[in-house]
């Protein structure tokens, strides 16, 4: 049973055309993360939400934005994708509290920019 669901699994977009990636969770976790993963590189944290509090990493490009309308859903918006934005995008969730420390990941969305 999938608990963190990312749609779509594969997304092809045109250079400069806005694209939205979605993530939903059935875990009722209060923290949600968006990571960018490129080949042979560590996952790069773009943003995270702690409940409704949005936290942007300092080096996340302005081109990337996020929305979390409710606990279950989180979106990654790329306003004007460039070729360098082609990557795997991973959504993860976590519930804060003494016994819950690991993040649960979705299967990712592989973004191709043409």
């Amino acid at each position: 049973d999938a608990m963190v669901i990312q749609n779509p699994r594969y997304q092809v977009t045109q250079f400069g055309k806005p694209v939205t990636l979605s993530c939903s969770q059935t875990l009722n976790h209060n923290v949600m993360y968006w990571y960018q993963q490129k080949s042979s590189q560590a996952q790069k944290l773009l943003f995270h939400y702690y409940d409704k509090d949005f936290n942007n990493e300092a080096d996340t490009p302005d081109n990337f934005q996020s929305r979390r309308p409710n606990t279950s859903f989180c979106f990654l918006d790329i306003r004007s994708p460039g070729l360098g934005d082609a990557a795997m995008y991973l959504c993860a969730t976590r519930r804060t509290g003494a016994m819950n420390t690991e993040a649960f990941f979705g299967q990712g969305t592989r973004l191709t920019v043409v």
Partner: protein, 114 residues
């Protein structure tokens, strides 16, 4: 700030041989440590985690890891690998305080050779 170093980008090993994947971290505070596995075009799956207590941690699929505070290491081991263990393995760290960021290493590709 915290960081994770995975010294080996690729590790080839024959089937049924033992393997060790190395991970070193740096942090100014106490941390939680994790190993994740990623199969092609999949999200990350938690293998094991160290929170506190016994420094030898056992995880799924026969993997184990040992936390060594003095050497700031958390190496992953398996006594006998299978073809199905071929995947990429990521070491990750999160500080045990309130900050939510999980920092990943660049990953180690384990290639099991028949």
């Amino acid at each position: 700030a915290q960081s994770v170093t995975q010294l080996d980008s690729q590790v080839p090993v024959f089937e049924e041989a033992p393997v060790e994947l190395r991970c070193n971290y740096s942090s100014s505070v106490s941390v939680y440590l994790f190993w994740y596995v990623q199969y092609p075009n999949q999200g990350l799956q938690l293998l094991l985690k160290y929170l506190s207590g016994s420094t030898l941690v056992k995880g799924i699929n026969g993997f184990e890891a040992e936390f060594n505070k003095s050497q700031t290491s958390f190496h992953l081991r398996k006594p006998s690998v299978h073809i199905s263990d071929t995947a990429e393995y990521f070491c990750a760290v999160r500080d045990s305080g309130g900050y939510q960021k999980v920092t990943f290493g660049i990953g180690t590709k384990l290639q099991v050779i028949p």
